[in-house]
Symmetry: C2
Subunit: 324 residues, 2 copies
């Protein structure tokens, strides 16, 4: 299925590419990264860019229709803010387009708004426009942020020798999806992911390459490797696994942490001499930052165990959240 | 139904208003106009603003699922570009989020892209990002444009004594919806509306108040009257009716032209001394511009016939395009 939608996305990428060829004033960065980057006007001086990203959440595909509406309001904005974080951008504003069914009554809307606006207030992100219609429940949010050209985090900026880092602890959302109700903290990670905006904006001094983890670490790392035209060696034993997973057999822990989705942590690369500053940043933010591997010049990708043996894992998310 | 969705929209307006109260750096213009206006970054000099608008089109509500996909691709972008036109903004870029069903095969996508990208190329509007998923067919486009603070066209800028103007000829789309296949030019207006971008950007020198006609002239004029806190007298006999309607009884002509939706012409106000320049602009653009009434200080709204008699029409769109 994800292959099918990659194929479909290529229809639009091809069209967008042809279109760019005919335009005089194109975006700094178009399709293919966490956000697009747009120079905001011909009169604008300096390196201020608009970072823009859009995500559509469909009932029955990205969430169960009976999900807690406050969590849904939170998550619909969180996944978009996570794209800004992965670009190193500061949130400014968002638009919300919403198709609502008969089940979405006033109590539902109240709770949805509560989750949505609480997160928006936390990150000073203003609702500036929207569209409401009737239809099968569907939420489309577009976020707009600010980022300086010199501080943005692009997928195509990994360099051989860079260390590969990841924030937080992985696998909790995928665990909660399979074992709901067993771990409150894992459930919370699935339902209310925290976009790593403070990390994203601070990273620009140390890194120029990041992606957010939505489809699983290996699948998202692949985006960096392909766009940067490099390879990677990842050390399985260094992967920061969420405590909820520690009772599981090691292969299942690794599968959830490396290939499970919906973590919304940041994966980034940085030159080795940034390590000290990144450890200090980790302390400042109160957020684990873990070096899990290295970018290689040859294009090979591998996950190895402590003895250096390949685990033969594929660099793909194996199970995006798909109730149907 | 439209009342129901106005009620729902207020949930989000209230939330957005509370949120604005807690923010330091808010948008120049938030919810309630054709576009939001955002100053694009703290470092930005001058009056360059981002104009942003979003629209969601749902199969079975805004279009039949078996509509010609090239027309759908055109229209999905056109209705968004029309919001930029109504703000006086120049298009820069758009994002596309798309839920596709099993029926949307390669041939469908090819045609959809053809309609979409042809219009995007015509108006130099770049596709910069998107999201593709499976679901009941649903299209959400967000457009981003540029506009100068001094040249933008806001709904809250009508002044007593201003003339009320409208572009083009009205009622064709509503006619085609009721009588499909009888008039090729009316069908074309319904399926492939032309966003009035050249008019919108030129208007900024003569007008500071406009709205695009999506829900019908009287309903859309009401948005201007409410936000500007003024009234209006509209002269029914001056309404430019599309030729396809001329065989219909006069009351039906008026209903379609004044209350039918989907015209995507611009309704704007301008001081009386701008009339000569507007007639000249009409010639330059090859687009009819017709003065249809006047803004009044008292809040009354009325449509009168040639003898000055009130027609008793309500300032509401009576029939937005709702197949189900």
């Amino acid at each position: 299925m994800s292959g099918e939608f990659e194929r479909i996305a290529r229809f639009f990428e091809r069209g967008a590419e042809r279109l760019r060829g005919s335009l005089a004033n194109t975006a700094v960065l178009g399709i293919g990264d966490d956000c697009a980057l747009l120079s905001p006007g011909s009169q604008t001086r300096g390196d201020a860019l608009c970072a823009i990203s859009t995500d559509m959440l469909v009932a029955g595909r990205h969430f169960w229709p009976d999900v807690n509406p406050a969590s849904l309001g939170h998550k619909a904005l969180a996944v978009n803010l996570s794209d800004l974080a992965a670009m190193g951008a500061r949130p400014r504003a968002f638009t919300l387009a919403l198709a609502l069914s008969d089940n979405n009554d006033d109590a539902w809307l109240d709770a949805f708004c509560e989750g949505l606006f609480a997160l928006a207030a936390e990150h000073a992100c203003e609702l500036i426009g929207g569209d409401t219609t009737r239809g099968p429940l569907c939420i489309c949010i577009t976020v707009i942020g600010d980022v300086d050209l010199q501080r943005c985090l692009r997928r195509d900026r990994a360099r051989p020798g860079d260390h590969i880092w990841v924030s937080g602890e992985l696998g909790a959302a995928a665990y909660a999806l399979r074992h709901p109700g067993l771990s409150r903290s894992a459930d919370e990670r699935l339902l209310r992911p925290q976009p790593r905006l403070a990390l994203g904006t601070a990273l620009g001094r140390h890194s120029s390459c990041a992606v957010d983890l939505s489809d699983g670490l290996l699948g998202d790392l692949r985006h960096i490797l392909e766009r940067s035209q490099v390879g990677a060696q990842v050390h399985a034993e260094r992967i920061p696994v969420h405590p909820a997973l520690l009772g599981l057999p090691l292969p299942e822990q690794r599968a959830l942490a490396l290939q499970g989705g919906d973590d919304y942590e940041l994966l980034f690369t940085a030159p080795p001499d940034a390590s000290e500053a990144l450890h200090a940043l980790s302390v400042t933010l109160g957020l684990a930052l873990t070096q899990i591997g290295v970018i290689t010049k040859d294009r090979a990708r591998d996950v190895v165990d402590a003895s250096g043996q390949s685990l033969g894992l594929r660099f793909e998310g194996f199970d995006h959240f798909t109730p149907h």
